[in-house]
Amino acid sequence: MAENKTILRISGLTKKYGDVTALEGIDLDIREGEVTVILGPSGCGKSTLLRCMNGLEKIAQGQIEFDGRVITAEGTKWPEIRQKIGMVFQSYELFPHMTILENILLGPLKVQKRERAEAQQQAETLLDRVGLLHRKDSYPRELSGGQKQRVAIVRALCMRPQLMLFDEVTAALDPEMVREVLDVMLELAKQGMTMAIVTHEMEFARAVADRIIFIDEGKITEISTPEEFFTHPKTERAQRFLNIFHFETDDFRKEV
């Protein structure tokens, strides 16, 4: 990938919960059009890192620059920043009291004050692209998990974000629904969307990532291309992490 403009720059970030240090000395650049996949054992702080990027978590030290602006300073207008950073959650978090279309249009209409006709057209185009246009007047509870998550992605996309954050978005899904969500993300990546993804889907990570970030015990221990990372991980911890997944595959092969 060519050296694009850096959209998000994290320097010296430290995050603490009380006395516990969740993240320490994190330096990370995310460039435009790049897909960064963050891997690591559970509890290593990868979700926390993602949540720091749009201010859902307050950081203790360091700074984050977004689009050339320091966004971790006092008095940052987070609602303004968050319009440009989409986020998709593990548990979908659609608003249960609104229809699918209302869910998607809330931000564009109320936050961005866009024209309804124009916003709705974009919403419908996006819904169509994820194959859910016919459900636009349904309520979230009428949808399957995979459908809800695709709507959640559309809701974030309809804000025309410069960066999309995905926080273990397939972890709550039934296996057969994982694929439909990952396909949408692959498609997005192909279109050049800038994405930061936390996931446990290794095959997907390998397919979608421009860069793999490995986090262990709150520190970035490795930044590699997917090829490097999955074939020759630099650290012993990453090796062990990958072995867990390989073991399952080998075990399976022996049985068949």
Binding site: N54, L56, W78, P79, E80, R82, Q83, I85, G86, M87, F89, S91, E93, L94, F95, P96, H97, T99, L106, G107, K110, V111, Q112, S138, Y139, P140, R141, E142, R155, A156, M159
Partner: protein, 223 residues
């Protein structure tokens, strides 16, 4: 049972019912407003004011309405504050009801998940927008059953108003008993009056309750 007596005095009960309903309406409306305001102050931990709201709630819930009314109607004039009986009734009822409504709203607010708020924040909603579009609608549909229960409770509490010389239903009944010794007839009419008011209201509110919850969480239609 003296039906002729009942027929002759029914008009008085209708009139008294009007007064009761009028006072209850304003009392319940103000209770809702006070309750909503207090619960918002507490939910958002607004400095100083949330403290005041909490103190008010304790004060209100731990004193009987009768005592509150006596204080307003007989106590305050002694320090020169004169309030009409009707105003005392409405103030007393909303002072009592406000705290009950606040607790109902609060349970609704607490039912709105933290992650729902995060989802709202992530699309750039300000705190005000978050409150209006996410928190209130969700909280309201959770609170509705206990809000309506409170409304019925407050309506029943109005039977105390006769204690500050308001010509409400209870007052008329006592009056008739005093004048004609028709205790059974007068009390029967009193019971009937409250039932005629409350039964349809209960049924109506239950219907509203179902409607609201039905719409809020988007059940598929029954077809």
């Amino acid at each position: 049972m003296d039906f002729e007596f009942i027929a002759r005095h029914a008009g008085q009960f209708v009139q008294a019912a009007g007064l009761t309903l009028n006072l209850a309406f304003w009392g319940i409306l103000l209770s809702l407003l006070i309750g909503l305001m207090c619960s918002l102050l507490i939910y958002f931990r607004v400095r100083v004011f949330s403290r005041v709201a909490k103190i008010y709630i304790e004060l209100s819930r731990n004193t009987p309405l009768l005592i509150q009314l006596f204080f307003l109607f007989y106590g305050l004039p002694k320090i020169g504050v004169m309030i009409s009986a009707q105003a005392c009734a409405v103030i007393g009822l909303s002072f009592l009801g406000g705290s009950y409504m606040a607790e109902s709203f609060r349970s609704g607010f607490e039912a709105v998940g933290k992650t729902q708020l995060e989802a709202g924040m992530s699309i750039g909603l300000t705190r005000r927008q978050l409150t209006r579009y996410i928190i209130l609608p969700q909280a309201f549909s959770v609170s509705i059953p206990s809000l309506t229960a409170n409304a019925i409770f407050l309506l029943k509490e109005t039977s105390i108003f006769s204690a500050i010389a308001l010509a409400d239903l209870m007052f008329v009944a006592k009056d008739l008993i005093g004048m004609y010794y028709k205790t059974f007839e007068a009390l029967s009419m009193l019971v009937a009056s409250y039932l005629i008011i409350l039964l349809p209201l209960s049924i109506l509110l239950r219907w509203v309750e179902r409607r609201v919850r039905y719409a809020e969480f988007g059940h598929t239609s029954a077809v």
